[in-house]
Symmetry: C2
């Protein structure tokens, strides 16, 4: 396994720790901003670094369709392609295949689906989805799974879970055979001596065509201030398994146990936030966590609101991702310490105050609500840029406070410190 995980502190069921990846340390619990097609929408990478993002997420389904895995691989993997020197996680493509394709066909071998871009037909199998993720070169990649729809009866849920388990085994087998083909790993042809590798150097496309161009990207990454220092223990990716089992606690337990038996570097809880009530999500998360090993990172996929991510962290979740902060920003919905702000409202048209008086992001330090409201009302691109920066700052700062509370052993304190109700 390449990424290693250390739990440093506990408070109740919550824990804080460090996930050491080939592209830097990730402090947990962590919220991972979503960069669907190799871009966290509207935010330049240097600003994302300034926000303190230590890991971002890319979507294999989208990247596979455009620009294509081979293009990304040749340019050094996602790190080189998008010039992001810190950690990256890619999903397996399974969730998008299910959520974006009504005409998909699921078979034992894999899933046939149509591109949402041009209607062309494609197949993802455990092997091809894993191979795509090796080419994309994220630090953490995910086993291919079927995301069970909601609602689903017990028989359907079990069949889907069994399929995901067989696919998990095949994903792991393929990864064991091909994992060292990662564009930046120790299996690649070009290697600096371990002792002389500077921070950020190794990730920048030593297969990117060589010579001046690779040097360009290398220099760019080297030149970045604030990049985390990677750990070089093992220059390979890590494969995480995904627990399924729908809304059935017994099936979740069985899925967890059998996924652990296959053996992965970390374990995700998938198949939630698919339309079920939030109380049920929480119940399944809580019961599934009991069956996951304490020494491995636990990743809850696709959640949530500020309140939810704090709550899940309190239950012992280590990693989360969600499009909510970035997508809400595009719709003018902003998270603040005083509650949610719908910046389009006329009440903010002459409001000279900062968006969030308790936030020190570059947006709150500089701009007024009136200006943000004006940008949104005028459909200016800067609205999306600034709104996204603020919302991500809010999420990342929130998780930093959660980690701090856990380190202080104060379980309850951070739970009561979160407000994101509607502004009164």
């Amino acid at each position: 396994m390449s990424a290693t995980f250390h739990v440093d502190a506990r408070a109740g069921r919550a824990r804080s720790g460090r996930l050491l990846t080939p592209h830097g340390t990730v402090e947990t619990p962590v919220f991972m901003p979503v960069g669907t097609v190799a871009s966290v929408k509207g935010v330049p990478q240097d600003l994302l670094e300034d926000l303190g993002a230590q890991i971002i997420l890319g979507n294999t389904y989208h990247l596979y369709l455009r620009p294509g895995v081979e293009t990304v691989r040749k340019l050094g993997g996602l790190h080189g392609f998008m010039s992001w020197p810190r950690a990256i996680l890619t999903d397996s493509g399974g969730f998008q295949v299910f959520s974006l394709n009504e005409l998909r066909k699921v078979a034992e071998a894999g899933v046939t689906f149509r591109s949402h871009l041009d209607g062309s037909s494609h197949v993802f199998t455990s092997e091809s989805a894993t191979q795509a993720q090796i080419g994309l070169g994220a630090d953490i990649i995910m086993a291919f799974d079927e995301c069970t729809e909601y609602p689903a009866d017990q028989a359907r849920t079990r069949a889907s879970m069994e399929l995901s388990l067989r696919w998990a085994e095949r994903s792991k087998k393929h990864f064991e055979e091909h994992g060292r083909e990662v564009p930046w790993g120790s299996g690649s042809s070009f290697q600096l001596p371990a002792s002389s590798r500077p921070p950020g150097k190794h990730e920048t496309g030593n297969r990117a065509g060589g010579g001046a161009r690779a040097t360009h990207l290398g220099t760019a990454a080297l030149g970045r201030a604030g990049a985390a220092v990677p750990t070089f223990a093992e220059q390979t990716q890590s494969l995480f398994g995904i627990v399924q089992g729908g809304m059935d606690r017994a099936l979740r337990k069985e899925s967890a146990e059998r996924t652990i038996e296959i053996g992965f570097s970390g374990y995700a809880i998938g198949g939630l936030s698919v339309g079920e009530p939030r109380a049920l999500t929480r119940e399944i998360v809580e019961s599934t966590l009991e069956h996951l090993p304490a020494g491995k990172p636990r990743y809850l996929m696709g959640v949530g609101t500020p309140e939810e991510i704090v709550e899940y962290a309190s239950l012992g979740v280590d990693m989360m991702d969600c499009v909510l902060p970035t997508r809400a920003a595009r719709h003018g919905l902003l998270f603040t310490s005083e509650g949610r702000v719908s910046i389009k409202q006329a009440r903010y048209a002459q409001d000279a105050g900062p968006l969030d008086p308790n936030c020190c992001c570059r947006v709150c330090r500089r701009y007024s609500r009136a200006y943000l409201r004006h940008l949104y009302a005028s459909n200016e691109v800067l609205a999306q840029v600034l709104n996204t920066i603020h919302n991500l700052s809010f999420y990342l700062d929130l998780m930093a406070r959660v980690r701090h509370s856990i380190q202080l052993g104060e379980e309850s304190r951070f739970l009561s410190s979160v407000w994101s109700r509607s502004k009164p």
Copy 2:
């Protein structure tokens, strides 16, 4: 007059100098990025500062319609509203009234036009357009004029020119009576002692509602690194006159002489780039410049390509503005030292090199052509952000090199150093 102008060096007809405004020194010849509705589309203000923009342009027509002059004025004028501590110039609204309104009605009193946003009816007169610009509070504001259409016969051109001259006189009269109502000027109620005014402090909305909110904006502006140190000689705006006269050299001469007779802090050449051939533009610019006073800034409105702005600087133009770098960026057309790059082209899909190997903007330092091409092809907002940053950097760096050449007395050198032909 509040802005003062010093010519420091000459090379042929070109000159370099400093325009001292209430919001900092502007080195000339200068290219002014266009921030139509209080935003240079897609670029946060701190990045614009990093690019070295010393002055930006706002459009009175657009700002008058949305968010409205009174809103901007209450929030400290444009400087406070958009949190931009450096110099700003607003146009008079005349050009947009003419270019965006086919149903406009011109009378002696002013122009009746319909909003392009909602069709509502509005009137701009010399007085109201000037008053709007006082409320917006730019450092440099423009007399209200009629932009003569192209082509136009001699009689029509003369009539239009005469109207602009009468409007110029009325604009000046209104400005003399009301200019001290500027939101940040020495006529405003709140004043720091001259000796204690820190850089950036004075511009931040001392009429912005007072108390904590004004302090918020004030602190934000104070906190910005790299803001130019304002000069406080006179805390008022400057009014520039606009020379019209169509494509008729004699009328241009007459317009220049009679505009100078009215007396302004600077003189603009308007009514060009309205569809005439480029050779004619140059001819009119060159002949008009002969009649403008050497000791005042000369502003050529609405030009141009990189080659053109260098050429006009060589003829003795001090200030220029154009939407080209920002608009072209949105269409994937990028200016580089090796020629123009249409980043959407498939040839760049796997190009790991920087956009411009001779550019050290944050885009060229960090990202590959392949990545920029991918962002554009994927319709990602980051494409517009990065493309705009690069194009503005190219324009601003180009003008910095022009100034340097003039200071070295090398007239011809900078002319030959510009390439923006299509990349071979």
